[in-house]
Symmetry: C2
Subunit: 412 residues, 2 copies
Amino acid sequence: MPQINDHYLKLKAGYLFPEIGRRVSAFTEANPEAAKNLIRCGIGDVTEPLPEACRNAMHAAIDDLGTRKDFHGYGPEQGYAFLREAIADNQFQKINISADEIFISDGAKCDTGNILDIFGPGNKIVITDPVYPVYVDTNVMAGNTGDSDEAGNYDGLLYLPCTAENDFVPAIPTGEKIDLIYLCYPNNPTGTTISREQLTAWVAFAKENDAIILYDAAYEAFIREDGVPHSIFEIDGARDCAIEFRSFSKNAGFTGVRCAYTIIPKSLTGKTVNDERQAIHPLWSRRQSTKFNGASYPIQRGAEAVFSDAGKKQVKNLVDHYMGNADLIRETCLKAGLTVYGGINSPYVWVACPDGIDSWAMFDKMLNELNVVVTPGSGFGAAGEGYFRISAFNTKENVEEVCRRISKSLSQ
Amino acid sequence: MPQINDHYLKLKAGYLFPEIGRRVSAFTEANPEAAKNLIRCGIGDVTEPLPEACRNAMHAAIDDLGTRKDFHGYGPEQGYAFLREAIADNQFQKINISADEIFISDGAKCDTGNILDIFGPGNKIVITDPVYPVYVDTNVMAGNTGDSDEAGNYDGLLYLPCTAENDFVPAIPTGEKIDLIYLCYPNNPTGTTISREQLTAWVAFAKENDAIILYDAAYEAFIREDGVPHSIFEIDGARDCAIEFRSFSKNAGFTGVRCAYTIIPKSLTGKTVNDERQAIHPLWSRRQSTKFNGASYPIQRGAEAVFSDAGKKQVKNLVDHYMGNADLIRETCLKAGLTVYGGINSPYVWVACPDGIDSWAMFDKMLNELNVVVTPGSGFGAAGEGYFRISAFNTKENVEEVCRRISKSLSQ
């Protein structure tokens, strides 16, 4: 009988979002009238129409597929040159990343999970806390952890708390051998950023320790303040110690369309069992060639249009829309006397629960009293306890209504 | 320093298609005039326009994304119900497979590779020879093999030869504990089929031995003869011992569009390290939820249209086109005195090399004398030596020209 991957049995049953779903359902059943006014600010999914430039490009690509002359069958597994080059030209020209270091895929979630395929066992892995759960779960699945404790922390991972005290940027660990480090900035879930100096220190640490930083920059388009790094490759030396994940999901509204990319510099190396240096780039290229067949042609054309003049304008409008929402949420929470983080360079506002209320109690209060669904901070890790996340991915009308309710009910 | 996955270093450098590319490039450089007449019948990529019904559905879905009302963000990771139900209703109604046993993805290549994520180490794995190289390479990557020998066979895999002597259906192994078995029918590369009786015997073997058959039915739409099974689930008992992979790539021309599906019955089980039975379905669902984010919404709408009245007609026309090509190739080869297999229920024609010529010599002869690119059988495994594959995925004009050249140059 086939042996299953027993590591899967260590996984919690997707605790966070199913539990939110359970509580929302129970509320809806008990309060059908109030449930009609429910506004969801939980999951970070976009709500606004796809940019016209992207839709036009996808329509044209579908028309291509209707002709024998412009039909596109199997594409390169690493992505079409037209898209890799558009990304390199528009986002990395000043940063010394070339088109063939950019791998197109169908999602940053897929890439951040699948990346573990090319790493071996025995690596010491660093996770921030709170954290995007996929980093943890995919390490559990890959057998890189032991069991979890009551707080939900897995044995074998090194958790670095990100709290108000350290500005949500983890302290650099000392005394431990470290191999892989997940960093996400602008951060999901806290919506906070890392400064150039802080990121420079992390890159220096990674270089000194021959570690690799897995840098999730899915939210970089929301950075509005000067000086906040958009890419880890803005930092000298990062080419030797970092992989970066990016996505069209949040800036261009591609959550249902599916297109993302991962940057692996050719100079990045790991080690073989014989302690020889081995380039990472060809390993990922081989992984994608063998276990992936390229992102959809019309979707890649849609992503390319993000970099057209019209596309840039439309994406900017989308980002402005969501960040306008974030401003409103931030200001309303501040006026209500709440302590607020994030939301300046990110569509997530991370709010400290009023005294003595824990994350789930605050979730229940927001649901029952305000009829607003948020995400309890503790769902993202032990250090998220005492916070809740409000997503600015919504219509203006919904956000205005949420803010009215916060002003009315939460003002202290 | 991060330990890489050393198993990747056991992989051959994608021997087959790069070597074909190298020889074609060398030929083109040396013979620029003749190269203008080159016709490629190597890789199995479709050439004909995407069905109008699919294009219309994709256009409409993209228009949906242009409105706030019909916008689709993150979809279910397992696929939209509209597509899962269309597949269940159209392809599995008589076979007792339900919509929630069908997982939508972006490709059968991805699924046949990723499926190993949910299985553990120590499984005895059976591969046919010749074989679609992805089955082998993904097992190497997962650490399920040792090194390869000179013939390219990996230690730890059990290879079952498929030759003219056994009608390209492997003999059922005796005396060995078997856990996972890859079968692909209609077969890539040989284009041959398995009879209901033969498949029934394999299912009985798998059930008796508590093994799981990974059944690749990507070419089922090309079956024309009555009585040839389209799905392993037509066989009683297969629900307890099989996973089936299917795709829209070849029937509906989705190689560049990307949509496929995998059927995992809820009754299918493996074992845990404690020798307890564990259902496979929730493991795959968890894998897809964590490491995948669903197939693109407009693409799933395009796939759904395959099952509309117009879509069915258009797909049938596509299949008829390619199978008309296959008929022509088969008949021409037979008239030329060649020994031919496949091509009746599959778009691949598997041709025995004329006496004394090996697969690569035949490849060179076809390239240099006929200016036709084929695939040497030995590239698919040791038992493929002495054969070459001609793909019927081409325009009618190209196939007619290939046939003229075969008649002229290969007639014996």
